[in-house]
Amino acid sequence: MSEHYVILLVLVPLLASPLCIFSRNARAAWGFAVLACLTSLYLVFQVWAEVMATGPITYHIGDWAPPVGIEYRVDAVNAWVLLIVAVIGSVVAPYARVSVEREVEAGRIPLFYAAFLLCFTGLLGITVTGDVFNVFVFLEVSSLSAYGLIALGQDRRALTSAFRYLIMGSVGATFIVIGIGLMYVMTGSLNMADLAQLLPQVWDTRTIKVAYGFLAVGVFLKLALFPLHLWLPNAYTFAPSAVTAFIAATATKVAVYMLLRFFFTVFGAPFSFDVMRLDMVLLPLALVAIVTMSLVAIFQVNVKRLLAYSSVAQIGYMILGISFASVTGLTAALLHLFNHALMKGALFMCMGCVMYRIGSVHIDAMAGLGKRMPLTMAAFVVAGLSLVGVPLTVGFISKWYLILGALERGWWPVAILVLITSLMALVYVWRVVEVAYFQEFPHDEDTQEAPWALLIPMWALVLANVWFGIDARTTVASAEQAAQTLMGGAP
């Protein structure tokens, strides 16, 4: 059965989703969701271990050999991203129960978990496939469910932000489809590995260059690269807490994966960097994103929105790593994928806890929480420091490689800029910490720590932040292998 793990890891949540609809019971739906996520995590872990040990796995769906049929192909890169998605899913699903009971109407909870599982399925499906059109299909699965989930937020602005996300997301998806079509018309294939072999023959055609451009813009929209990030802050701010934690930690990560896959595997690094000069596009965009979005984040009063802007900036770091076009740079980007998922997941979960008890995530609402909700705010501090990039947290590891990559390229101003923006992160994290620890609690006396059902998953992520900050050998090895796979051309 183990050869089927790659497909089962997508199928399990997919099949659990209808079960949620059937059950019509919030608790049962939650049970299915948790079970499915954990099973998926187990399968992903097995697949990841196998890939790390023995190299890429392929799986021919329908017993049709590619490029005739659709192929699943897992190498070090997608194994790594799969792990990120599965880990976050498995942490958010248990977390969701209490949080969602508070923030979503009872009647919609089974639907919520169905949508959650579909989103999870979609993200896994994008990651695991080796067929470009299949990417689009699963992209839509994850996007559509994400629109629904975001719109569930209690604030009415959740609706408008979901709609804006829908419009921009659909434009992005359509651009990707156009790009795929143009690639297809020049080669006749949709299989990634096959395309990687066929494309060099038509590199110099304008069609392929335009295809490249459309794919780039489409993916940039999906990953909220500045200046195409406009959908993201509101969407993250107004979505229910569990949804924000999940989507912030996974959706853009998978979009970054798409970028890597398209530009490194399908087109190949030589085309991306020698012909298209992708680095010259990514570098300025990333830098501007990092600086401006960090600045904007400093002035936010809604902590979720603050974190959302910070996410846009952090995406800039990933893109920056990619723009180095070196193994170190890619390692940094891939590490930051994982690490940022851990820290943003934890931070947004903290906001979920605060939302649960206080009912607001305005910065003033944090006043005195250091004493009232010590565990929650301690988690915020640790994850926040990780965001800043303090040593012994995962944030440091990714910053380390990022700067190393910049110095390798001789771009030391970039390195300094990265460090300075880390300080900006310190400023916005510290604003919250200060309010939480140095202001008096303004509410009535009986506010207490968030329930354990919220704290345990959150702390699991926080501890992971520290654990992988102290011992990053596994993560670095995995990311490095993935980076080498990407730079080495075809997987």
């Binding site: 049709w64 009872a106 949508a115 559509l144 295809a211």
Partner: protein
């Protein structure tokens, strides 16, 4: 799309979809035409009407014409036209697109699958997984729409806190 009456806009979109279905037939894509007809003239129209019934169909004020979208569109369109320059000529049987994988479908599917409608063969078997994804997308849409529009279970004491 300067028509202020949204209903008319929807009708026009329906007609556009209808015409494109005709075009699909002419371009040999009967299955696609079929689907576009069912979707464009049928479900899509019903959906838009359902939405219009709830939101009203009168646009309140004339749309202004901002410059930025125009530039974006011109650039996008220009890029696409530029890209088509090197595309193989329309309808040429020698195009690569018709040979790499398509050959296999056309020549082998009678033996491998044995149904005459190759589109169905590809859809359900060779690329059956895409179709499963498609089914999932539809299901996802239903879940999302239910999340958005389902009425609350009738619990009178909770009736107040919706806003």
């Amino acid at each position: 799309m300067r028509i202020r009456n949204l209903f008319a806009v929807v009708m026009m979109a329906g007609i556009y979809s209808l015409l494109s279905a005709g075009l699909f037939t002419i371009m040999d894509a009967v299955d696609v035409a079929f689907t576009e007809a069912a979707v464009g003239a049928g479900i899509s129209t019903v959906l838009f009407l359902g939405a219009l019934a709830l939101v009203g169909h009168h646009e309140r004020k004339p749309g202004h014409t901002p410059l930025l979208p125009l530039i974006v569109v011109l650039v996008t369109g220009g890029a696409l036209v530029y890209g088509t320059m090197d595309m193989p000529p329309y309808g040429d049987p020698g195009n690569p697109v018709h040979h790499h994988v398509a050959d296999h479908y056309l020549e082998e599917s009678p033996h491998e699958i044995g149904i005459p409608n190759i589109v169905t063969a590809v859809l359900a078997s060779y690329r059956g997984y895409d179709t499963m994804g498609e089914t999932t997308v539809v299901f996802t849409a239903a879940v999302a729409v239910m999340l958005l529009l389902a009425r609350r279970p009738r619990r009178p004491e909770e009736e107040e806190d919706e806003a």
